[in-house]
């Protein structure tokens, strides 16, 4: 039975956000007998309620509270109030996500020592290594049912994958397969196997794709140690005179302010909301915001170097049938500066339905050059580029000087400029992908600009030294012992791989640390 805790219960761990980081941490702690309250800004929709319709689903699940943007990225011009495409709902962005689950490469935990100092980039080594992460990666893969691990077969390739694979073969790429996906290729964990519905981004109505909504959260609730409180938007974290955090002020479903007392607070609102909350919790003792003695809260915002390439063929493809992210090419993920940039990138198939294709293929474009592309929608194949982008101090989340949300909390501004390394990498990837599709007979290709960010990282970075970052190797704030960060904002650097497997692995690792510290009474 799901627990229900009193507002004045100061023995609970309060987690803000129920997505990849928060949902996992909540269940892991509950399994260890720790009492947990998850405050989740969004509503609770179960997977039967999901909608196979792009705009309909967006309206149901996406975070649409206003944000502002600045910087030279095209998103700031095309989607000035939608810098990120992420979720406000129980389960967080694991409802929308595609499921690609990749481990980082060894050197990606050591970017400063591997790439060297790069002008305009705030590179730093992680305080953890791949070797330390491996056991947690293994646990996360087992939990999430990642294909191609633990003897689970990979998913069958759909049409979009087959085009990708044919091009990869022609170009001589060696590592191309249907990916490591947190999608059931066989029935397991009391959930269906993938029915190739093709609406992975709209929430999987079969429950085949891993989401904290119908895995971690009900499992945690079944222990009697977890309460998930939906429609509860955290606004401020309170602390006492000694600087320890004591509770979280949130707006409840009626907009009324409440305070949930806490022994420990873990922030997992994704990389825009987490720093926004820490900054908004500024006090006399912490005038620059909580955990911000380094000045790094909100800085080093990363979103991966992304872009898409769609291609039209003289014969039909029907790329939208089947898993949205149906396959991967990993050959370019290596670090090889001879290509003109540091770090690497992955190619992953991607498909959008007609409504989103119209909105995202070339935002703002009109006229025949644009519409003749859509005329051949069923003859299109497509892929997404995801590569390591450079952390920059100027790329950051700040509190808007005068605009406030419905609860009176300053809205977030997201500033982003591409680093020259990002641009060089994107251009390389556009060229390779164009060659790949040309090799299979594409008659026209479209180097498509990045969408609003789906991967948001780095704004509360992990560091060895307190002066360099916000949290230590356990995600524990350098400044405040009982305050943790449990989402992708901990990332020191972004790596080429999709982030969620690493977020989940870090949350499993963090749960062990928190439980041990609680038993030892150090926090």
């Amino acid at each position: 039975m799901a627990a229900s805790f009193d507002l004045n219960n100061d023995g609970v761990v309060v987690i803000i956000g129920s997505g990849a980081g928060g949902g996992t941490l909540g269940n892991e702690l509950a399994q260890k007998g720790v009492d947990v309250v998850i405050l989740e800004a969004g509503a609770r929709h179960e997977y039967e309620d999901f909608i196979n319709d792009e705009w309909g689903s967006f309206a149901q699940l996406a975070w649409t509270d206003k944000r502002t943007t600045s910087g030279d990225w095209r998103v700031a011009k095309d989607f000035p109030n939608l810098p990120a495409w992420i979720v406000k709902s129980v389960g967080g962005s694991t409802t929308h996500w595609a499921g690609a689950s990749l481990r980082f490469q060894e050197h990606e935990f050591k970017t400063l020592s591997t790439y060297g100092k790069l002008e305009g980039a705030n590179l730093l080594d992680w305080p953890i290594t791949l070797a330390e992460m491996e056991p947690y990666y293994a646990k996360a893969e087992a939990k999430m049912g990642v294909t191609g691990t633990n003897d689970w077969p990979r998913l069958p390739g759909n049409n979009n994958f087959k085009v990708l694979k044919a091009g990869a073969d022609k170009l001589g790429y060696k590592e191309c397969h249907t990916g490591n996906m947190a999608i059931n290729s066989v029935e397991r964990d009391d959930r269906n196997s993938c029915q190739q519905t093709g609406f992975c981004f709209q929430g999987c109505k079969w429950g085949a794709k891993w989401s904290t909504l119908y895995t971690e959260i009900p499992k945690g609730e079944a222990t009697g140690h977890l309460e998930v409180r939906p429609n509860a938007m955290a606004i401020k974290i309170n602390h006492d005179a000694s600087g320890k955090v004591t509770g979280v002020v949130y707006a409840d479903k009626d907009g009324k302010l409440q305070e949930q007392k806490a022994r420990i607070v873990a922030v997992a609102g994704n990389s825009i909301e987490s720093p926004r909350l820490l900054l908004n919790s500024a006090s006399g003792k912490f005038p620059d915001g909580l955990a911000n003695s380094s000045g790094q809260v909100g800085k080093n915002y990363m979103r991966h170097t992304t872009g898409s390439v769609y291609a039209i063929f003289d014969k039909p493809v029907h790329m939208y049938r089947g898993t949205t992210m149906a396959g991967i090419i990993r050959d370019e993920a290596r670090h090889d500066p001879s290509r003109g940039f540091v770090g690497g990138y992955e190619f992953e198939t991607l498909s959008l339905g007609l409504p989103f294709m119209a909105a995202f293929l070339d935002p703002g474009a009109w006229g025949r050059s644009f519409t003749t592309a859509l005329d051949h929608y069923d003859h299109m194949a497509g892929l997404w580029i995801v590569g390591e982008d450079m952390p920059r101090a100027e790329n950051r989340i700040t509190l808007h000087a005068d605009e406030k949300d419905a609860h009176g909390m300053p809205i977030a501004d997201v500033h982003f400029d591409d680093h020259p390394n990002d641009t060089a990498m994107r251009n390389h990837a556009y060229k390779q992908a164009t060659a790949l599709y040309a090799a299979v007979g594409a008659t026209r290709t479209f180097p498509t600009p990045p969408y609003p960010s789906t991967h948001n990282l780095g704004t509360n970075r992990m560091s060895e030294k307190a002066a360099d970052g916000v949290v230590n190797k356990h995600g524990q704030a350098h400044d405040i012992k009982n305050l943790f960060v449990s989402d992708g904002s901990q990332f020191t650097t972004g790596a080429a791989e999709n982030p969620t497997l690493t977020i989940v692995s870090l949350a499993i690792r963090q749960a062990g640390y928190i439980a041990a510290q609680m038993s030892a009474k150090t926090i």
Partner: protein, 176 residues
């Protein structure tokens, strides 16, 4: 191209629809834009019907798909009429925007320009205006989000109720 004929006063919509044979593509009658050939009509309540007819043409010129009938462009822009009914400033923006478009197009107005290229030339002059942006920005959703147009593009939409594509061609590509 959307051809608009102004009906003689007094013709009822039913008569117009009956006279489908006259070859007119769109007819303006009273407060309505009517397509006798395809038996549909759009009643306007806030905007002038001529404005609506021009909006329909403009929508087609912004996102031209020769295989998509006018009806869907009409449905895609009718929200502006509703919005204009609620918001006087909005109504003024649309009416003024269309008036400006007509003025820039010369004697016969925007709809009088015979070639798409000519009309696109005029649209290019106003591309940066809030009026154009409002029309284009709304249209990219309201046109392509109509389930009825999806089959024209070969997009099949919702698939859960049909059991996904696992047995319906997710991997049926043959030409590779």
């Amino acid at each position: 191209m959307v051809t608009i004929y102004d009906a003689k006063p007094g013709l009822s919509r039913r008569e117009l629809l009956k006279r489908g044979g006259i070859g007119a593509l769109l007819v303006i009658s009273g407060s309505a834009v009517i397509s006798p050939e395809h038996a549909w009509g759009l009643e306007t309540s806030a905007l002038k019907p001529e404005t609506m007819a021009t909006l329909i043409q403009m929508a087609r010129d912004i996102y031209p798909h020769d295989q998509v009938p006018d009806k869907y462009y009409a449905i895609a822009v009718k929200g502006h009429d509703e919005q204009a009914g609620k918001d006087a400033a909005y109504k003024a923006m649309i009416e003024d925007g269309i008036a400006d478009l007509d003025k820039k197009s010369g004697d016969g107005g925007y709809r009088g320009l015979g070639w798409e290229d000519q009309r696109v030339g005029v649209l290019k002059q106003i591309e940066a205006t809030p009026f154009f942006q409002a029309i284009r920005g709304g249209l990219v959703v309201s046109l392509y989000n109509q389930k009825e147009v999806w089959p024209i593009f070969g997009y099949e939409g919702e698939s859960y109720s049909k059991g996904g594509y696992i047995a319906r061609g997710f991997n049926d590509i043959e030409w590779l």
